[in-house]
Symmetry: C2
Subunit: 325 residues, 2 copies
């Protein structure tokens, strides 16, 4: 491609292939106003002396103020700060109004709850075409174990970390002629589901509950008064359903009771049993967060929600407010 044909849009897009974190850079303008903006052009430069850099468009309204500032702070944003990132990426007034700033070593605003922060002395700037490159000496820094916000191809993202060794489920390499392998998404999701359910089953077995009973009690924990038909509408996609016999069993176990009009409801011990199931499910999840990392589990959940939205066969909304019955 000759330079004459240089396509700015395509160039931006190609640059977007390089994933970055998201930072907010802050300083105090000469008139005392706090200033701040979102930047993903941050990077580390040197360990000794500790130097970092970022760059700012020369057309930015804040360029003079940053240039004159003696100090600026870099905030590596966490997953929870996406709204903050949007606020500081816009030109709105008073971006700091809802933030409880902390005290730093300089007059540059210090924002809480970040993945990491670098308090810097503004040491030198270099010309960088339509941008100015700021280099700062890190005077102080801190870090919290909050999963960082990520930016890629113009979108926010989360990361799922790869273990050092590639993850393999089988001790054997997949036989080449076998097209059913451990990399099939449906297999991975099914096995994940059944392995988690397997851990739940210890509790369920104690109460002689089958999967379908467990699913039914969970639905009735949310949608509190349901006819058998309505209940089964929620269960249908799982391939499970409750028969009259199942209902009789759950009534005999004092887990559900029949109200006047063919409507069923959890009894107080049914409520208790369901809460016990939720507590167990949460304990399993906590354990996984411990082992896989919070950011990774968040990324997993995000992907599952997107998958669910894409494969939803039109399920009734489990959390929809009920008509009074």
């Amino acid at each position: 491609m000759a330079q004459a044909e240089f396509d700015n849009q395509a160039f931006r897009q190609a640059l977007g292939s390089f994933t970055t974190g998201v930072t907010i850079i802050t300083a105090t303008a000469p008139d005392g106003t706090p200033i701040g903006l979102t930047a993903n052009s941050f990077n580390s430069v040197s360990l000794d002396p500790p130097l970092v850099l970022w760059s700012l468009a020369k057309t930015s309204l804040s360029v003079d103020a940053f240039n004159e500032a003696e100090h600026w702070n870099v905030h590596v944003l966490s997953q929870h700060q996406q709204d903050l990132s949007n606020t500081f990426a816009s030109r709105g007034e008073d971006k700091f109004k809802d933030i409880s700033l902390e005290d730093g070593i300089s007059n540059a605003p210090l924002i809480p709850d970040c993945s990491a922060r670098f308090q810097c002395r503004n040491t030198v700037t270099h010309d960088g075409g339509d941008h100015l490159i700021f280099i700062g000496e890190v005077l102080d820094f801190d870090q919290q174990t909050l999963p960082p916000l990520v930016f890629q191809q113009g979108q926010y993202a989360m990361t799922a970390r790869k273990p050092w060794e590639d993850v393999s489920l089988s001790s054997q390499p997949a036989a080449p002629q076998c097209s059913y392998n451990e990399d099939l998404l449906g297999y991975l999701i099914g096995r994940s589901h059944f392995q988690i359910l397997y851990r739940m089953r210890k509790i369920l077995d104690e109460q002689a509950l089958e999967d379908s009973h467990f699913f039914a009690l969970s639905v009735m924990n949310i949608q509190q008064r349901l006819t058998l038909e309505e209940l089964n509408t929620h269960l249908d996609y799982t391939g499970h359903s409750l028969s009259e016999m199942d209902v009789d069993f759950l009534v005999r176990q004092d887990l559900i009771k029949k109200l006047d009009d063919d409507v069923y409801q959890l009894t107080s011990s049914g409520q208790e049993a369901s809460l016990h199931h939720i507590a167990q499910a949460k304990a399993i999840e906590e354990e996984l967060i411990e082992e896989l990392g919070m950011g990774d589990v968040m990324a997993l959940k995000l992907m599952l929600k997107r998958l669910i939205n894409k494969t939803d066969p039109g399920l009734p909304d489990l959390w929809q407010e009920q008509d009074k019955k």
Copy 2:
């Protein structure tokens, strides 16, 4: 923290909170040797003129060669190039020996199969403490739709992109008193599983196959000769099992056959049915890749494999080579 206490290890770790892509930078040394190294200090600087930067330790063996090079190329690595990243991060000789280099606009080596590439003229360097900052003018670039490799906290990672709007499954905000909400990992995995199985079920219903039959045929597609007991060892954790009645049904349907010694095997039409199921599962996966993006589905699979490894109750290895029977 006073500067005297500046902890290099902690500083490195805090810098690692800022997520980056991974690049390989290449050039040709004055003696004609191709040189290259892995760097995550890359960033964009300017659109007009198109400038990018990266920095290199002054102690690097290649620093003089890069300094003298008229051109260097930046390769934004894809997920598939993790090994390449390791190779170029080490000091090994002949890093280029297995690479089919492509022709670029300069003498700098051009590596194929990257997410993006920037062919640059070495314009200026700036001092950056123990590093040298290289700024280059982008003369040419290209991009492929390959999910980029990501680096965070000293580990490789993959990204799961966040949609612009947060993903919510329910039209209602979760009732605060209801602790069973759509954010529970077990619920998300279960619903994902059942929604995918729901799509499979159209095919299964045509063949009057229940979930347990489907699971059994899938196992027998991989482990080809199994007794009923062995088969059920593989199914046990799903809560499903095959009864003698189920086996009789599958034999009557000509999907499996009994060999001499109580061992069962797929018939050719059983084989065909199972391959049909796999094809359907792969079609569903292809559709999801189309809708969610290849990189995101890869990240999802990676997380599921890690979850499976952490929750494995000690399942028999489905892909283990069988003893001859």
